[in-house]
């Protein structure tokens, strides 16, 4: 390749004038704007899923195993209107929240130990590897022994289902905090709990939030499964019990209505709690897109 020399061009200097008035932001076409509403897009997905369910169920034509979407919706509507489902959901949510919060607290303590000492680290790794794979039924006898039949045992198995995944995620998040940021925090004289709370937790927030989401979901799973076994003492069963009872009476549409309520609550919590949390934290801080 022969040596290529660029042309020599005239120079220029201009005085930069005061910045003119900002041109008005061009409005986006309405379809684009509409499409930018996450609620709308997700609503559409939900509608499509409901449609697919309806079609599938009608095609299977086996409403003892799989009722149609409309049947379920009707059962859900009735249950909500009569207040029964509302009450059951209230009972379940109360226990769920207790167990969830206790689990979150326990996970926090465990990871705080893990970041502050070698023994804590080993403890976390060992306990998680040991207990995380154990199904809740394995802990049931022990729960009965220690907490009796009732809320105590439910909270215990809920903690078991929230604690380990959240601790794993939180700790992985802590370990991924950039060295410079750690040094900056320690440089301010932060140590111990303040260091964890003011540096590690915010820096690891994306991992913690996804741990919280997973923990939330698994708390639901566990609660519903546990309520089937523990059932209702003194007539106060939650959603799991509702599902169990209706299953026993072969009201499959009500079973699915109960499950649908779980889904609806899940979507609401995701949409309201977690999305807001992400928006005002990690997304605002540029830690996640």
């Amino acid at each position: 390749m022969s040596a290529l020399n660029p042309p020599i061009r005239p120079e220029y200097e201009i005085a930069v004038a005061a910045l003119p008035e900002r041109a008005a932001a061009r409005p986006l076409p309405w379809r684009t704007r509409l499409w930018q509403q996450p609620g709308l897009r997700r609503g559409l997905i939900l509608v499509l899923l409901a449609l697919a369910w309806e079609v599938l169920a009608r095609w299977q034509a086996n409403d003892l195993l799989l009722p149609t979407f409309l049947q379920t919706a009707r059962a859900l509507g009735e249950g909500l209107a009569s207040g029964e489902l509302v009450e059951k959901a209230r009972i379940s949510l109360l226990v769920l929240l207790q167990g969830y919060l206790a689990g979150v607290l326990a996970a926090f303590v465990l990871t705080a130990l893990a970041v502050s000492s070698q023994v804590g680290r080993d403890l976390l790794a060992t306990l998680t590897a040991m207990f995380n794979p154990l199904p809740a039924i394995a802990l049931l006898p022990l729960a009965l022994l220690w907490f009796g039949l009732g809320r105590g045992s439910l909270v215990f198995v809920l903690v078991h289902s929230v604690l380990w995944p959240l601790a794993l995620n939180t700790y992985a998040g802590f370990q991924g905090v950039p060295e410079t940021l750690r040094m900056a925090g320690r440089n301010y004289g932060l140590r111990g709990l303040r260091y964890v709370l003011q540096i590690l937790v915010p820096a690891a927030l994306p991992a913690i939030v996804s741990g919280l989401k997973i923990g939330w979901a698994f708390a639901w799973r566990t609660l519903i499964a546990a309520e089937l076994v523990f059932g209702a003492s003194s007539g106060k069963g939650g959603l799991g019990w509702y599902i169990f009872q209706n299953r026993n009476e072969l009201f499959t549409d009500r079973v699915f209505a109960g499950l649908a309520l779980v889904i609806v609550i899940g979507l609401a919590v995701e949409g309201v709690v977690f999305q807001t949390l992400e928006r005002v934290t990690v997304r605002r801080w540029g830690m996640q897109r």
């Binding site: 390749m1 040596a3 290529l4 020399n5 660029p6 042309p7 020599i8 061009r9 120079e11 220029y12 200097e13 201009i14 930069v16 910045l19 900002r22 041109a23 932001a25 605002r284």
Partner: protein, 284 residues
């Protein structure tokens, strides 16, 4: 040093075929904005300039005036809210290995690749070279930037300046049509910086790539660039374009000093913000 000296460039006459006369890169009235939750930040306002084939175009401007943003837009990572960026007459649509970027940040090296693989990877990924050849080219360029001994280290084991040198080696090994460099030598000591400048210009001499280079050193701008674009403080607008093809690595004399002063004047004759009033009061 290589044959390229002040005279060589100075004696060039527009002998090129007509095709060459069209600029390779056109930045045409480009405004760039960042959308934050609270407000719209305008980074550059209606910036226009042209870069011809084999030109070494340097962007100078105050901190925060939008140089990096402009470079990212040319790289195809950002699209203008106004105006257009054209390469070879066609609007830039997205990033590509024909416009390799050396970023300003230290975290541009994938931490999961050794220094050698970091240099070789883009060659392989973009299909520029086969694996074997890529590794050879990587070894060659690591040697040039003085990091041959660190070929098997991972990026987190390097100092700031060493990381930047890996990024430079990676870019030079690729020999892209357009090379976009964002303060590549800022973290280097004087000697290493000088050596890097030499390597860059020697490679230019050889393959005549087109360079867009951001720096804060006026001297460096004159030495590295053949043409210098000066941006106003935030939000960046074009202030001036001047030629600097006469100056090379050996430049020192009065003309060079005058050019430095001239650019300095262009850059700073209007202060960004007046020095706070209380600055004078504060003395022990």
């Amino acid at each position: 040093m290589p044959s390229r000296g002040a005279e060589t460039v100075a004696t060039v006459t527009p002998l090129h075929p007509p095709r060459e006369a069209a600029p390779l890169l056109e930045v045409d009235g480009v405004s760039l904005e960042y959308r934050t939750p609270d407000r719209l930040v305008r980074a550059t306002h209606q910036v226009s300039f042209e870069v011809h084939r084999a030109e070494r175009f340097v962007l100078l401007g105050a901190s925060g005036c939008g140089k990096s943003t402009l470079l990212k837009a040319i790289g195809g990572f950002l699209s203008p809210v106004e105006g257009e960026i054209r390469l070879d007459g066609r609007p830039v649509r997205g990033p590509g290995p024909d416009r390799l970027v050396v970023f300003q940040e230290f975290d541009q090296l994938p931490p999961w690749k050794t220094v050698r693989d970091n240099v070789a990877f883009p060659l392989v990924a973009s299909g520029t070279a086969a694996r074997r050849e890529a590794r050879e080219r990587a070894a060659h360029w690591l040697d040039k930037v003085g990091l041959a001994r660190f070929a098997d280290a991972y990026p987190h084991q390097l100092s700031g300046g060493m990381k930047q040198r890996v990024a430079i080696a990676r870019a030079l090994a690729m020999q892209p049509r357009v090379l976009l460099m964002d303060e590549p030598f800022a973290a280097l000591d004087a000697l290493t910086r000088r050596r890097m400048q030499e390597e860059l210009l020697a490679l230019w001499d050889e393959v005549r790539f087109t360079l867009v280079f951001v720096t804060h050193g006026i001297e460096e701008a004159l030495v590295v660039g053949s043409r210098i674009g000066v941006l106003s403080p935030h939000p960046g607008r074009m202030r001036a374009e001047i030629n600097s093809h006469e100056f090379g690595l050996a430049s020192e004399g009065a003309a060079f000093q005058a050019a430095i002063r001239r650019v300095h004047g262009l850059l700073f004759d209007q202060a960004i913000e007046p020095v706070p009033a209380d600055a004078a009061r504060r003395t022990a």
